[in-house]
Each structure stands twice: as C-alpha cells, then as structure tokens.
C-alpha cells in the first residue's frame, strides 16, 4: 500500500467538489432551520448543531461516497483505476479520504456557529473533531457496503433519500432527544446516527440523560457490522 497513490487518487476524486466549495450551503439549509427553531424554542441549539455535524459526517461518508463510487463505475473510470497499480483497497481508502475532505468546510461553519453560540473549550473542540471522524468512519463503512450491494447510482440515490429521511430527519438527530417520550428515547438509540450524536454530546460534556456506555456500545456494534459487510462487498477484481 502506498500513501502517495492514495492521496493522489483522493485529490482526483475530490477536485470536483472543490470546484463548487459553496455547494454544501443548500444541504445545510434545512438542518440550520431546524437548529434555529430548536434554539429559539428551547435554547438547546447546541445539541442540534452537534446533530448536524454527525449528519454531514455520516452522509459524506456513506451516501455521497456510495454515489461517487457508483458514478465512477458507470463512467468506467473505476476500470481505469483498477487496471492500474492502484490497489482496490487503496482506491477505497482514497475515495473515503476524498469524502472526508469535502466535509471540512461545512463542519467548520457549524463549529464556528457553535463557538459563537456558547463558546467551546479546546478539549471540547478536540472532542467535536473526534466525533466527526467517528461518524465519518462508521458512515464510510456503511457507504462501501451500500456501494457493493447496489452499485447503480440511481438506486443508490433513491435508497439514500429514503435512508436520509429515516436515519437523519425523522429521528432525534437534528433536534434534542428530550423532545421524545422516554421509552421512545431509548428505542431511538438503536439508530446509528442517534447513537453517534449522543456519543458526541457525551464527548463534549453535554448531559443527555442516557448513560454513556449505551451509545458507545451501539456505535461499536454498528462499526463492526458495517466493516464486516464492507469487507465482504469489497471492490474485487471482478
């Protein structure tokens, strides 16, 4: 495995995003509206912002990555990369890395809003970065699995839209979990994005009313499952 090949392939894949650096703004409109409603209504806007960070990290690791890989397959660019010294694992890492870079700008914007809103210590800032990376990593494992199963960009888009609704918009990711009745709160932890958000909140020291170990265990279980599935669906030579 060669780092220079991974980085160069990642640059190849991420340049198109860099050409439209403000494209993320349209993706942030709905989450930011939810944040404003939550902030004005309850003053718990910081929790929404953490949810937005988890959501964008998860989405860029999963949906955007799976769509891009499927696009490269349809465009046959993937054949050019596979029939070259770039190993399938290097290509998968490069594509994941490319999608980590595209979330830097929106994550920075959200973090700045968070700092302006309530001020953040250096430790909390480091915890936010760690939470983003964990969310991206779990999302990436899911994205690689999703690409392996679906492979077609249209199918991936339709499944991603549905999943976006089911695991980001409906569950308590963008709004506080305390909005839900207590029994549903516990049930919602099964959703990976909710667990990731709760874990992130714990890491930056926000009290959630849910024990720390619960989201931690669930995130670890999802990570293991998605990684196994992704490895099984790996980009093979055929």
């Amino acid at each position: 495995m060669r780092v220079d090949r991974i980085i160069s392939s990642a640059v190849f894949m991420s340049l198109s995003y860099q050409k439209e650096p403000l494209a993320f703004i349209s993706d942030l409109i709905i989450p930011l509206i939810i944040f404003m409603i939550v902030q004005l209504g309850t003053g718990k806007g910081a929790e929404s912002l953490v949810g937005i960070l988890v959501a964008i990290a998860w989405s860029s690791g999963s949906f955007a990555l799976a769509r891009k890989l499927a696009q490269y397959r349809v465009w046959r660019l993937m054949d050019m990369f596979i029939a070259s010294p770039v190993k399938p694992l290097e290509f998968a890492l490069a594509s994941a890395l490319a999608h980590l870079t595209i979330l830097i700008l929106p994550a920075t914007v959200i973090t700045i809003i968070m700092i302006l809103l309530q001020g953040i210590s250096l430790t909390a800032l480091a915890s936010i970065v760690l939470s983003i990376i964990i969310s991206w990593f779990v999302g990436t494992s899911f994205g690689l699995y999703m690409y392996g199963r679906l492979a077609d960009p249209l199918r991936i888009s339709s499944v991603a839209n549905l999943l976006n609704l089911l695991i980001i918009l409906i569950p308590p990711v963008l709004y506080p979990i305390s909005f839900l009745p207590s029994n549903i709160q516990l049930a919602s932890i099964i959703i990976p994005t909710v667990s990731l958000k709760l874990l992130a909140l714990h890491l930056i020291g926000v009290e959630t009313g849910i024990p720390f170990y619960l989201p931690l265990v669930i995130v670890i279980i999802y990570l293991i499952i998605f990684m196994i599935l992704a490895i099984r669906e790996r980009i093979t030579i055929e």
């Binding site: 060669r2 220079d4 090949r5 160069s8 392939s9 640059v11 190849f12 894949m13 340049l15 198109s16 050409k19 439209e20 465009w75 046959r76 660019l77 054949d79 050019m80 990369f81 596979i82 029939a83 070259s84 010294p85 770039v86 190993k87 490069a94 030579i237 055929e238």
Partner: protein, 298 residues
C-alpha cells in the same frame, strides 16, 4: 517474449451466455494489434480478461508472461487502459485529469507534469487544458481519456474502441499518437472501423460470436480476399441470374467478382437494367464480412 498469450480462453457469463469460446493467440512482437468484430463479438470481454478486470471461466491468459488470475497485480503495474464508453471526471480540466491520474499511479510530480504536457500537446488538448471537461465536446472528452491512458509509461496499452465519437481529423491525431507510442510498446485496440484497423494494425484479429475467425497482418489478410472487385447496389434488387457470390449487408447487396474478364458482361447487364451501382476493389472489410457470414452460417 510473449507479450500476450491466450490458450483456449472461455468466458461464460451468468445465464450461460458464452462471450468467448476457446480463444487462442500469441502476440510476440511490439506494435499495434487490432481486434475487430461486430457488436457482441467478445472484444470487450477479451480486453477485460487481459486487463484483469474479469476472470476467464476456463483456459489460460497471460500478459507480459504473467497469469491474469494469479499475477494480476504485476500486470496492472505495467498496463494502461481506455475502457469502452468511458467518461472523464466532468468537473476536472484535461490537465488535472491527466496529471492526477498519473500521480495516482505513483508517478513523481516532475514526471507527471512533463508527460501531461506532452500528451495534451500531441492530442490537441493543450489549448483547452484549463476548461472543465463538462464544457468540452464529446470528442474532446474522449481525447482526455485517451490522453490519460497514453500518458502513462506502460508496456501495453489497451484501448477499447478509443476513437468512437471522434471526427475524422481528431481520429487522425489519435492515430499519429498511437503510431508514435507503438514504437516502444504494444497497443491492443478494438475498433468498429475496418479502415482504422487496416491503417493502424501490424496484426489484425477478427472475432465473431466469441471465436477468432481470422488472424494475420493486413497484408496477409488482404491476400485472402478471394475476389478482386465488388459491385455494390441497392439491397432490394434481385438479380435473376447470378453466378457471382453475393452478400447482403445492412445497407446494400454486394456482388463479388473474381477477375476482370467477368466485369464487362455484368456491368452491361446492370447498365441495361438501369440499376444504380458502384464498382470498387475489395478491401479487408470484405474479408471481414465474408468471414462473419461464414461463421454465422455454421
């Protein structure tokens, strides 16, 4: 050295679709190898096997004396590919596309810069190097892909129908670059254009329904055409008495004439019947059509 060797290669896809059927040939000289065949003949499958993108169901295939299944990583290091119907990354410029593709293959910054400039100049893309591919014509986008593949210092270049969609002038530019590249490497290209295969290839492989139907240099193959002349006329015209070999193509009926002594009578007859026709000498395309028809009638 055997640059490419296949022995009884069979490829069967799901649903029992036989894409290749006991394909055997050896390439032991550098140059340009043309693989021609109708749609669905097995050209792309053969390229995919040789570029290690798919495995043969049976038989042996070697590239640069490495087995395509066991030594695929060694092969991938030394080949370059333009896939069929490929598209470049639309929001990259031609320069970025070629440069970063080279870097991703492990080339140094200096080498990548030099090779990118060289290939873009040769393929007439230098003046467009800073426009994103989305703003280029279809032909130029195709040239960006060809440039990305040909800029790579490789031992074998596989090009699957690389000139589809190019205008005649652009096609000539690509031919010139291919001839240039083939001096020190092997180029294995598939094409629909017999004129292109004839003009470029040092060795031609004709394939139909997964089987090789003819192989040889263009000079050798042209000698195998059993007729000197051909008369093309409207497909609907039915000649009442014809002892000549006729072949129906999609557009026209072709009458083959072996020697010129037979021509006057036939031409007189066509003129007397006021039938529009054209008289030409036979080419490799005629051998190809005959061989395809022969293989299909078996």
């Amino acid at each position: 050295m055997n640059y490419i060797l296949t022995k009884d290669v069979v490829k069967i896809y799901r649903g029992n679709v036989v894409a290749l059927n006991e394909v055997s040939f050896t390439i032991d000289k550098l140059g340009i190898i043309g693989l021609v065949g109708p749609n669905g003949a097995g050209k792309t499958t053969l390229i995919k096997i040789l570029t290690t993108l798919t495995r043969p169901t049976r038989g042996k295939a070697e590239v640069l004396e490495y087995d395509v299944i066991n030594d695929y990583e060694k092969i991938r290091r030394r080949i370059s590919l333009v896939p069929q119907d490929a598209s470049p990354e639309l929001y990259l410029t031609p320069y970025e596309h070629v440069y970063w593709y080279l870097r991703s293959r492990g080339l140094s910054r200096g080498d990548a810069e030099k090779l990118t400039k060289d290939v873009l100049e040769k393929l007439g893309l230098w003046d467009h190097r800073n426009k994103v591919c989305a703003k280029l014509s279809g032909g130029m986008r195709q040239r960006v892909l060809i440039a990305s593949a040909l800029a790579v210092p490789a031992d074998i270049y596989f090009l699957d129908e690389p000139t589809v969609g190019l205008d005649p002038l652009a096609r000539r530019d690509v031919w010139n670059v291919l001839r240039d590249v083939s001096r020190g490497s092997l180029i294995f290209l598939t094409t629909h254009y017999m004129e292109e295969a004839e003009a470029l290839s040092d060795l031609l492989i004709m394939i139909n329904r997964g089987r090789i139907i003819e192989i040889g240099s263009p000079k050798e193959l042209i000698r195998k055409v059993p007729y000197k002349y051909k008369i093309a006329l409207d497909k609907k015209i039915d000649l009442i008495k014809s002892s000549f070999k006729t072949v129906d193509t999609e557009k026209e009926k072709i009458i083959y004439v072996e020697n010129e002594n037979d021509l006057p009578d036939l031409l007189d007859y066509l003129l007397s019947q006021k039938i529009d026709f054209s008289l030409k000498t036979t080419t490799l395309e005629d051998l190809f059509i005959m061989k395809v028809r022969e293989s299909e009638s078996r």
